[in-house]
């Protein structure tokens, strides 16, 4: 029975991935991508990785899906115009028109098939055993938290998490460079629709509370900084879409402080620990619980602000056409 469910789920994920890439219209692609992300999240629940499932559903399907939907505003009108275009109207748009020549396609298919066989064999023959389960179980009492995944993320391999916050910040900076910084001095126009306004006002505290719950619950169960950060980032995105861009209200130095707070405090803590004779991010076991909680909270606020800023900046790219004309 369980093999049947797993098999159906695996076939569903493969089918959705194929359909997503072969869909004719871009809208279909994006919505099938949502479905693919949710199928993958289900697969992770079947594999017992609830943290990963929350992260996948919230970040990869949710946040990236919202970004893709937003990008459709740019791309899809031209796509439908091309469909109506009488010159290309005979053959539908997609990868069927102007097919590449036969030989490269054959080579590509052959190469992909070979690659599939190699990777299947590599996965099938991966030696059993190994893994770090025993090691992380042995050191779990010293980590200051009860949930092993949180212990790995914020204590045993805190270095990874720290660099990851840096990667998000780098992504934000790169988007600033590409799109031009437009976060500041936005006009404050609340949503005209009364229902939308009320729902945003209702969901803001609920999302905040739920994020805080996930953050604190990460100590003993699935949850933690990233999941909380996405929920808090969702508040920022909702407020932005509802015509209340949060970053235009706060002064510039405050925004910069919030964005760099997680990375900076993490590093500061690491240096302080080094100054007291430990290694970087080697928390003393007596204080590790409270240190992890503080670091997690600051990191979550930083990531949430960065996600909101990424969305706001990408969302505002379409507007004010003067800037694009002046740069060309």
């Amino acid at each position: 029975m369980s093999v049947l469910i797993d098999g159906i789920l695996a076939i569903l994920a493969i089918y959705l991935a194929l359909q997503c890439l072969m869909a004719q219209r871009l809208t279909q692609t994006v919505f099938l991508f949502f479905a693919f992300g949710l199928a993958l999240a289900l697969a992770w629940i079947r594999l017992g990785a609830v943290d990963v499932a929350i992260a996948e559903a919230a970040i990869a399907a949710g946040f990236l899906g919202v970004l893709l939907l937003d990008a459709l505003r740019d791309f899809s009108p031209t796509f439908s115009q091309k469909q109506k275009n009488p010159e290309t109207g005979q053959n539908p748009p997609g990868k069927d028109d102007n097919k590449p020549p036969f030989l490269p396609r054959l080579a590509l298919g052959f190469g992909l098939g070979l690659f599939l066989l190699i990777s299947l064999e590599a996965i099938w023959k991966t030696p059993e055993g190994g893994g770090l389960t025993a090691a992380s179980e042995a050191f779990l009492p010293e980590s200051g938290v009860e949930h092993p995944v949180t212990a790995v993320l914020l204590n045993f391999r805190a270095y990874d998490t720290w660099l990851e916050i840096g990667v998000i910040l780098m992504g934000l900076l790169a988007i600033f460079v590409v799109g031009g910084i437009r976060l500041y001095s936005r006009p404050f126009t609340a949503a005209q629709d009364p229902l939308l306004r009320q729902v945003i006002l209702f969901f803001t505290p609920v999302l905040f509370l739920f994020g805080a719950f996930l953050l604190y619950f990460g100590k003993s169960g699935p949850g933690g900084a990233f999941q909380a950060a996405v929920l808090w980032g969702a508040i920022g995105i909702l407020l932005h879409l509802g015509g209340r861009p949060v970053f235009s209200v706060m002064p510039r130095w405050l925004l910069q402080l919030i964005l760099t707070m997680g990375l900076g405090f993490f590093l500061l803590l690491g240096f302080l620990l080094m100054a007291t004779g430990n290694a970087l991010f080697e928390y003393p076991p007596a204080y590790s619980g409270i240190m992890i909680l503080i670091v997690e909270t600051l990191a979550a606020v930083s990531i949430a602000a960065a996600l909101t800023a990424i969305f706001a900046n990408v969302n505002l790219m379409k507007e004010d056409p003067n800037q694009t004309e002046s740069t060309t």
């Binding site: 629709d193 229902l195 939308l196 209702f202 969901f203 609920v206």
Partner: protein
């Protein structure tokens, strides 16, 4: 099999039926408004039945409260997004008609 399990199974089956009906509606209905209707109404009812079945199955008041909140928030979010999509479509239709008329 106790009477509680029977009721749970019946609730879950009814929920699955409504989900199936809603999905069928999304796939088969002709225009966006009836599709939205099928998606939000039928699926929320199905989700409600499934939530009730699960709450009965777990049989702890705190978990039942959490499941109720999940259902409640889904209801709120889906009805709002349904309303927004419908309003957007209506505005599009109206502006399209005006263009064709004028």
């Amino acid at each position: 099999m106790t009477i509680k399990e029977v009721i749970t199974v019946i609730l879950l089956l009814v929920g699955c039926f409504f989900f199936l009906a809603g999905t069928l509606g999304v796939l088969r209905f002709p225009d966006i408004f009836s599709r939205l209707h099928a998606l939000t109404k039928a699926d929320n009812l199905g989700l409600g039945f499934i939530a009730a079945g699960m709450a009965l199955h777990i049989a702890s008041p705190l978990a039942a409260l959490k499941i109720f909140f999940i259902w409640f928030f889904t209801l709120l979010a889906s009805s709002t997004s349904c309303y927004l999509i419908a309003r957007f479509q209506k505005e599009q239709d109206q502006s399209g008609n005006r263009k064709e008329g004028g």
